[in-house]
């Protein structure tokens, strides 16, 4: 199973096993990763699953759709590496992916 590495705002890291096919948000909320809320359940309505994805994984992800791009524009401190992790599907080639959790989601 691929492993995902979440880095909390204080720099501490948390590794979790992820089932391919699930969304990263679903994995994170099931595993109680603090700071990823996933309020809308993954339908791209809330942006409480905002993360920064490190290279080279960021570049390996399927491009965000228009809705996600628009939501990200208004997220808290978006950067060029911002994604809504409910829109990222876990796959074997994402093993080791590093996701940084922002200091706040609203």
């Amino acid at each position: 199973m691929p492993r995902l590495h979440f880095v909390h705002p204080d720099g501490s890291a948390q590794a979790v096993e992820a089932e391919p096919g699930e969304s990263v948000m679903a994995v994170a909320t099931q595993q109680q990763v603090a700071g990823i809320v996933g309020e809308c359940g993954g339908c791209c309505s809330c942006a409480t699953c905002h993360v920064y994805v490190d290279s080279p994984w960021f570049e390996a992800l399927a491009a965000p759709d228009e809705m996600e791009v628009m939501m990200l524009e208004a997220a808290v401190e978006p950067t060029a590496h911002s994604r809504l992790c409910c829109q990222i599907t876990v796959a074997d080639d994402l093993d080791g992916m590093v996701l940084r959790i922002p200091a706040g989601q609203l």
Binding site: A26, T29, Q30, Q31, Q32, A34, V37, E39, C40, G41, C43, C44, S45, C46, A47, M67, M70, M71, E73, A74, A75, L106
Partner: protein, 411 residues
């Protein structure tokens, strides 16, 4: 928090609020026992897809679960499913369960949600008439439907309209009957209602507003819906979406204060210091409403649940989150921030009569109190912040789609 390890916290109602109370207790380091008791037979799940992706077959039941059984176990959350809490004895700190057991609690959380309001008319018990609140309800409806089904939906609220969109997607013939003169009348302005009426009519829904349902006709099975004007809409399946009745009976019988919901304070505490309540069942003071209110939304279920968990742990911090809601119908996503009740002015961005992207901003005394956005998620996101901060934006700029709402935020 070592002294917490011999405590037993009991949560009644294993919905989204109940699951969030349990999760939050663990995230905050509670080490005692957590019992999460729910009368449904499944682990806690999200209801919004029930009328959307799950209804139309685009989502699996498994993907609705908030916490799957292995995660519940890993976090030491004892889920007692298929069990009802029948009584609370506050003097002895005991709850009695439908399977005969009784449990002693140190702190109790009531997250009992609500149940769908039945249609108060003859024929409401015919085969083919359904309410919609649970996964089991939707499974039963779907088992009754195929692409040839003629579906009549009673109620033009969010659930009724979402079911209409999902049923049209599945190829069914759909009629929606709403008693009031417009859909979504209790939650949006007339222009927004008119927008949703337009997209449903464009999708082929037979939408009737301003008409009452007199009876459901049929001998054993549904055959049609008889309206106040005497006409009959032929139908094989009737879905009723006319509102929610909060589950307060348990609290009321235990002598807790109840008034359109279980009465709680800003920290989700009931009239008993050892009992909190949160979610659809809780009537709470809300600064965005300017009064007490009972909200029916995921936002409220989750955020109030976290406040309730804090209160159980003795770390009271008042609930002060801006209400928000969403709805997906066809290819349109509606996102609502704030509460629009009591607005005295409305400003539009975009043309809801012609386009599928617009925002309606609700003002009171010049202050932005709410926004409904369709296909303009940035407006929604920034409106949430502006509403929280009591901002009074310039009206002309607010109407200009070229001015990003961000511009109204304090530097």
């Amino acid at each position: 928090m070592s002294e917490s390890s011999d405590q037993h916290y009991v949560i009644v109602g294993a919905g989204q609020a109940g699951a969030e109370v349990a999760s939050e207790l663990r995230k905050r380091g509670f080490e005692g026992q957590i019992s999460l008791i729910g009368d449904e037979s499944v682990a806690p799940y999200r209801r919004p897809p029930l009328s959307k992706a799950y209804f139309s077959g685009d989502a699996e039941a498994d993907s609705l679960l908030v916490l799957k059984p292995p995660q519940l176990e890993k976090n030491g959350i004892d889920l007692l499913s298929g069990v009802t809490v029948d009584a609370i004895d506050r003097a002895t700190h005991t709850v009695t369960l439908s399977d005969g057991r009784s449990l002693q609690y140190d702190k109790l959380a009531l997250t009992t949600g609500g149940r769908a309001r039945p249609l108060p008319c003859p024929g409401n018990d015919l085969d083919g008439v359904f309410l919609l609140r649970s996964l089991a309800d939707v499974d039963a409806i779907r088992a009754h439907c195929n692409a040839e089904t003629r579906m009549a939906i009673v109620g033009g609220g969010f659930i009724g309209l979402e079911v209409a969109a999902s049923a049209r997607k599945a190829g069914m013939a759909v009629t929606v009957v709403e008693t009031l003169d417009r859909v979504l009348a209790r939650v949006t302005a007339p222009v927004v209602s008119a927008f949703f009426e337009r997209i449903h009519r464009e999708a082929g829904v037979d939408l009737r507003t301003g008409v009452r349902v007199e009876a459901i006709e049929g001998t054993t099975k549904v055959e049609g819906v008889r309206l106040g004007d005497g006409s009959v809409i032929p139908a094989d399946v009737v879905v009723v979406g006319i509102g929610l009745i909060p589950n307060v009976e348990l609290a009321e019988a235990a002598g807790l204060e109840v008034d359109n919901g279980i009465v709680v304070d800003a920290c989700a505490q009931t009239s008993d210091p050892d009992i909190v309540a949160a979610g659809d069942c809780a009537n709470h003071p809300n600064r965005f409403a300017g009064e007490r209110i009972r909200l029916e939304s995921v936002q409220n279920a989750m955020e109030q649940a976290r406040v309730a968990a804090g209160t159980m742990l003795g770390a009271e911090s008042p609930y002060d989150a801006v209400p928000w809601f969403w709805s997906d119908q066809y290819d349109c996503k509606l996102q609502m921030a704030g509460l629009s009740g009591g607005y005295d002015d409305i400003v539009l961005r975009g043309d809801p009569a012609a386009e599928k992207r617009f925002s309606a901003f609700y003002l009171r005394d010049g202050q932005l109190i709410a926004a409904d956005s369709v296909g303009r998620p940035q407006d929604f996101m920034f409106a949430k912040k502006l509403v929280t901060l009591n901002i009074a934006p310039d009206r002309a700029k607010l109407a200009d789609p070229e001015v990003p709402l961000k511009a109204f935020l304090p530097a």
